[in-house]
Symmetry: C2
Subunit: 464 residues, 2 copies
Amino acid sequence: MEGSGLKGHLREGLRFLEEAREFKESFEARLSPLRELSPSKPFTYLSVGGGELGDLVVSAAKRLLGGPKGGIRTVVFDRYDGCPAQDVADSFEGFDMMKGDLLEARVRKYIPNPSESHAIYLEIEKIDTRRMCELGIRYGYRVMSTPYGPLICMDRHLTKLMFDELKVPRLEWAYAESQREIELIAEGFGLPVIVKPIMTSSGHGTSIVRTQEDLKKAYRYALEHARGIGDRVIVERFLEDLKTKGTEITQFVVRHFDDEGEIITSVLPPVEHRRPGATYHESWMPSTISRKAIERCQESAKKIAELIGGLGLYAVEQFVIGDEVYNNEVANRPHDTGMVTRWTLNADEGAIQLLSTIGLQVTPFDISPSRPNVFGVAHVILAPDFEGESEGGAERAVLGWMAKDVKDFMARKGYSGDVWYFGKPTAYPHRRMGLAVAFHEKLEEARREAEEIAHYAEGKIIYS
Amino acid sequence: MEGSGLKGHLREGLRFLEEAREFKESFEARLSPLRELSPSKPFTYLSVGGGELGDLVVSAAKRLLGGPKGGIRTVVFDRYDGCPAQDVADSFEGFDMMKGDLLEARVRKYIPNPSESHAIYLEIEKIDTRRMCELGIRYGYRVMSTPYGPLICMDRHLTKLMFDELKVPRLEWAYAESQREIELIAEGFGLPVIVKPIMTSSGHGTSIVRTQEDLKKAYRYALEHARGIGDRVIVERFLEDLKTKGTEITQFVVRHFDDEGEIITSVLPPVEHRRPGATYHESWMPSTISRKAIERCQESAKKIAELIGGLGLYAVEQFVIGDEVYNNEVANRPHDTGMVTRWTLNADEGAIQLLSTIGLQVTPFDISPSRPNVFGVAHVILAPDFEGESEGGAERAVLGWMAKDVKDFMARKGYSGDVWYFGKPTAYPHRRMGLAVAFHEKLEEARREAEEIAHYAEGKIIYS
């Protein structure tokens, strides 16, 4: 909406991006390649959030670098005991990470002096992100990729301003502060529209509004599910052709030191994905988009990563229709859709995040396909809706799972498939409990099989 | 040597094999598929030995099954603090595992009741193996593959008797109890001969005797390096053509439950390897041997595994010349040469050992090549000889390693390569510190590159 509010936010946003850019220079000047890993003075790797993505990063520290005796110790924070990364980490702290003072105190407990060698990976958004970023900006904590990164990427408005600054293509959008404003914008764009809170990630609070009925609930829904704060939302024009002719891509790029000690941006092959709702559902490699589209995806993602800077993975969510690419959202870290890299790249996204953010080289081999001749598809294994309970419903304990039935199913069907069970102690409706994977020379077969394994596995987890 | 000593040992050996076979029946009757993994009553997986092979098994429990909250808790024993598997395991105990009472007490600490669901993996030989096997035979502890397995496989005499019982091809051999007897046998076979202690594994104490000079030291060498007890050695006729026309294979097979609840034996593709000495040096997949030789390797290995029985991996070391196969030694567990499976099979040998021994299915996909179109070669990264110190020389502390140089080297060379640094806290001469891996469509290129990476990495570890 035009108006002084927007102009004020715009000015504020542009100033913030300028600040981020200035900070990037000084931040990168302080970064250096990691020459030696030493067990007597280990590098501290802190994953704030210990879900399945944190698990991949922590596991990589053990599997590639030898863990603490190899010179790297891993610390995991999460809100609950028994998170996936906990049983692999060297230290764990369970507490409410939305409480900034608590969070800061725990960071300082493990990294008393920010000039010691360390890196901090913000795995999730349900933390006091501002406080974490402040620790980076004010005190020199190495919050990766840069301490400004999460502040830009979590903010849909700043993200869009950044796209415009970089002149990379994006969806048409407008900005609203009330239900009334949303309705006006929707009238202009025509339904459907996408409504999302300004501060969010992983699709939380996002809805596709198709009817006037839904439109009435859009504002409240967005704010209720927002992972950040504030009362502002973004309204996007819906790409009509997306469902029928288009697809979705996560384009990963990684900022890392090369062998000359310079920070460079390397480009990964695109990950393609589909989702019936707003959250991650299935993804695969290699992608099926055109060579031209791949180039455009990679070009945009590279520009974005180079603007924000620092070290580590960037995951840029993009819509692709034919050769056209629309940048949508950015995460400056590993991404749900990238878990498939555990089976499809030589180094998975956790290993790539680890290597790059501690100051090592990521080799062209690391980011190349490990199985170039087949499609590898990952499909989420979800908890049920527990008889219609909403996502905020009571947690159920996980009593167990019937691993043998799942393995037997894959063997009986003759599928080239695999299952990663996360081992979460509790579940709420539709919580992600694991990942099913299938490989096939034909994408549609691989998708069908991964889905079938996932659905079978869903029936084999026992809840209280 | 003919004589009452040998006849006595022969009788004793045959009786032991008969006992093993009878025990197998009752042992297998007590095994059952693992229907459910439950975090409130977790399955206990004990790795007696926490080296790099133990690390693969423990990691698999986390990476596939979700660790303790997925219903499986891992316990690692080793003689020293900081072993590779320790930082991934849920519990660790460091003590002298050659002390049977201590060993038994620790086993009972974690598995008070042998009827609880558990499995025990004897990762190394430098433990009181007899006591461990006794715990299985007398008290029902699930020492895998069967409690008799290690007793047969560590004993070169029993192994050869078993080969003869199964009518699988083997080297010509004789049996000696003194230096004088070795010399008589060598006269009969002609030099070179191979001399090895009866009780050993991983090539420890084995020597290839090429000269009369060496022959004089053979008996003492074998007994000094034996990992078991006793004063008996085996003398084998050397296969003259092996170096020039032959190769070495480790043929893995795995005993596991199928989807009908029956224990079956599945066959893996052969691993090929070379060694300048008696211990593991480099290995690769796929192997280059003939189809006929592969069939014979697999046929022998299957027979051996089915005779000893139980659940888990069997690694049969074989010499192959043309289509001819000579069975050499057997390990009823994962094997050094099989570490390459981490990069070449869909499930690595640790995962296969875990899945099979806890009572899950191993699928055809698990044991199929993940990269069928390239050779993957693993080459050991060794500690230096520390200016001529012998293997028993004083341990040196590992001060650190220059991981970035190693990654940079691979990137600069443009190699498709990877490094697994084990993170051992100390080193003695020629201790295995890590593994370098390279992939290439041409085997000789892949071997050269893996070796080059390994040698480069060897220069990048810093010792006290």
